[in-house]
Amino acid sequence: MSGKPRLTYLNGRGRMEPIRWLLAAAGVEFEEVFLQTKEQYDKLIKDGLLLFQQVPLVEIDGMKMVQTRAILSYIAGKYNLYGKDLKERALIDMYVEGISDLMQMILMFPFSPPDAKEKNLDSIKDRATNRYFPVFEKVLKQHGQDFLVGNKFSWADVQLIEAILAVEEKIPAVLSGFPQLQAFKTKMSNMPTIKKFLQPGSPRKPPPDDHYVETVMKVFKR
């Protein structure tokens, strides 16, 4: 039996993608089980593997972990991506939570009705350029360091690069006006573990398409 973490989710980004990013950034290899049918999902529940009947599920260090944030915090703590003390952890948590609010909008986007999509895209652009990106632009400008917190690579940096790329997929020129973030994006993309994750053949999943949306509806049908 492998000691690698095992991820159970759909074959797509969803709520598991930040976890794939963080494990990859930490240089941790992992296995994946993909849910394709309602029967598979019902079996997981019946077998008592899902504490709250939900995925993501990550089997790691003898635990069957659920709840995305709990999983991410555990990985960050285990692989020293959570700052050096309580205050750095507080900053990382604040940054990650803010970015996560932005990512939530992107997560829900494929499931919005066709006539709401343009409005939702405008909201994503508005939030990214007026609420979230300016904060991180300012943080990086003020301390002039490569990383968001404590002059050291952390979970916050991984979450931010993921968000930048996800928003750019929807709004290609979104970083114009954010020179610090442009430089940050380049630096993070060139870090060896992240560079590897951004190459074809990695566990990184493509943007959600209609097939993904259909699978979600099918597997989680009430």
Binding site: L51, F52, Q53, D61, M63, M65, V66, Q67, T68, R69, A70, S73, Y74, G77, K78, L86, K87, R89, A90, D93, M94, V96, E97, G98, D101, R131, Y132, V135
Partner: protein
């Protein structure tokens, strides 16, 4: 200058209530500034105190913290309510994630139309009794200990008690069928700091009413058209 934490929010539960619970459980006194007008909120925004332009905001240990989960994690760790190691913290985070999801269904309840409120009430009770309460009932039954994690009082216990009381406000007999949770509720409620918080005159806020809803809408200019789950 007072060293007590200072909470900036509306005079009502919302997202700040879990923070009030945790500080109180830890025996920490705090101050509150209540947002009543749009002008107050704009002043906070212009002053740069709200990192993502949102409340809750808590001034604590020289930081202006935002993001409810970040604030709660900081308080839990600072006051030793976060387990003894990484694995215990993982369990606490998982349990808190569940109660957070459950309380999330109740958070927007006051903003719903009367018709949607009935729908949502049924939804809340269904989720509580079929998904969340059974999970915690089993945890307590399996280890037979007084607290959820590591045989030691933690953030997870505070959060679960808060969730139980909130669901009971929607359906008073919702714990019938959950003997472990009934015993848990009695036990945790009698912890001195929590007992004090549950008494009149504490920082605990009442069930949100129309006045609260109007204040939030007026100050934030949002949440006019909230839908049920």
């Amino acid at each position: 200058m007072s060293r007590k934490p200072k909470l900036y929010y509306f005079n009502g539960r919302g997202k700040m209530e879990s923070i009030r619970w945790l500080l109180a459980a830890a025996g920490v006194e705090f101050e509150e500034e209540f947002l009543e007008t749009r002008e107050q909120y704009e002043k906070l925004l212009q002053g740069g105190s709200l990192l993502f332009q949102q409340v809750p905001m808590v001034e604590i240990d020289g930081m202006r913290m935002v993001q409810t989960r970040a604030i709660l994690s900081y308080i839990a760790a600072k006051y030793n309510l976060y387990g003894k190691d990484l694995k215990e913290r993982a369990w606490i985070d998982m349990y808190v994630g569940g109660t957070d999801d459950l309380m999330g269904f109740i958070l927007m309840f006051p903003f719903l139309s009367d018709e949607d409120k009935e729908k949502q009430r049924a939804f809340i009770v269904q989720k509580a009794t079929s998904r969340y309460f059974p999970a915690y009932e089993k945890v307590l039954k399996d280890h037979g200990q007084d607290f959820l994690v590591g045989n030691s009082f933690s953030w997870a216990d505070v959060h679960l008690l808060e969730a139980i009381l909130m669901v009971e406000e929607k359906k008073s007999d919702v714990l019938s069928g959950f003997p472990q949770l009934q015993a848990f509720k009695a036990r945790i409620s009698s912890i001195p700091t929590i007992k004090k918080f549950l008494e009149p005159g504490s920082h605990r806020k009442p069930v949100p009413d129309d006045k609260y809803v109007q204040t939030v809408r007026r100050v934030l200019r949002m949440y006019y058209d909230v839908k049920a789950n």
